[in-house]
Symmetry: C2
Subunit: 196 residues, 2 copies
């Protein structure tokens, strides 16, 4: 098996173990067992569970871009800020294995400098994706801080769903969350208009 | 020293250690060292770091009630939903040792059943506090789900500040967060009016 395939296989096994035991309670031995690899075989590709989590987040970033691109293609509509509110809320409330592992990643940021640096990088990339999407609207593109705020809102919502068990309550209040985010876009775009 | 005072002394020492090392990286030995107690002396009062965290959260709940009561007294104004938005946002963005330890508590909910039960209990009590405050307004009291939503919003904001380092960005966007929460109260109170 070539190295890339082997690494992918390890990451798949790691997802299973992380979901089962939680990232924090997983040790490399668990992943060895799940993959059936020898100690040397596993450590040749990954030195720690943090390195595996790092690569999983890199995979996830690609996956996320594709999802957004797909919903834009499916939409077949003129993009609007309201459409972005919907993307944001859907992303926040979706229950998926990826969301679970992404939140494990967020909860580890304080413990590992490499993950923190990766988070900064992913945030910058996400800002870039948002900017490209907004540039197709015939409105002024909001500032980086505006997009950073939206990303913080999405991430805090995801954490609340997974860590606090808030998903059911958020789904009940989905229409209000949409309205809150619509309010944000309306106010922030307006204030930019007003500042001219 | 009587038991209550000794326990309080242990909790004070634990706060120091938790802030320094993080809850997850703290073991009972660290707290033994910080307090200068013997192993037997410490374990007589607390069996684990989880038990200490539990009691700290019970302390915090009392503290929080007092804060809210105080800001209502200081206000000397007629209460309004807008005033609640301000309480909520101030609570979310405040940097304090208590906020740090409270977020450590939230991040441990999945790992410890006792903490999870305590969280449910604290949430119920907070809903009760909100209800009492709202009952002094001459408007219909929103449902428990509405208050639960606000509590989830506060907690997810606190987690974002501490875990994601989002505080600076949230402070920049403070006026928008206020407007988002005002929007929520306006819509949810309106919809109740409309449902009559």
């Amino acid at each position: 098996m070539i190295a890339d395939e082997r690494k992918k296989q390890i990451r798949q096994a790691a997802i299973k173990v992380f979901l089962n035991k939680g990232f924090r309670n997983t040790v490399m031995n668990d992943i060895m067992e799940e993959t059936g690899l020898s100690r040397g075989g596993l450590y040749h590709h990954y030195g720690s569970t943090y390195e595996i989590l790092y690569d999983l987040m890199m995979d996830g970033n690609l996956y996320r871009r594709n999802i957004i691109q797909k919903s834009i293609n499916d939409e077949n509509l003129r993009l609007s800020p309201n459409f972005f509110s919907r993307i944001i809320v859907d992303k926040m409330l979706a229950e998926s294995d990826y969301a679970k592992i992404y939140v494990m990643f967020l909860c580890e940021l304080k413990e590992n400098e490499d993950l923190k640096n990766l988070y900064m990088k992913l945030k910058k990339e996400s800002i870039q994706v948002f900017k490209e999407l907004f540039s197709s609207l015939s409105i002024d593109i909001p500032s980086d801080e505006t997009f950073e705020f939206m990303i913080n809102i999405i991430n805090s919502g995801l954490m609340a769903c997974e860590v606090l068990g808030a998903r059911a309550n958020f789904i009940e209040n989905k229409k209000y969350i949409m309205e809150m985010i619509d309010t944000y876009f309306a106010k922030v775009l307006n204030s930019k208009e007003g500042a001219k």
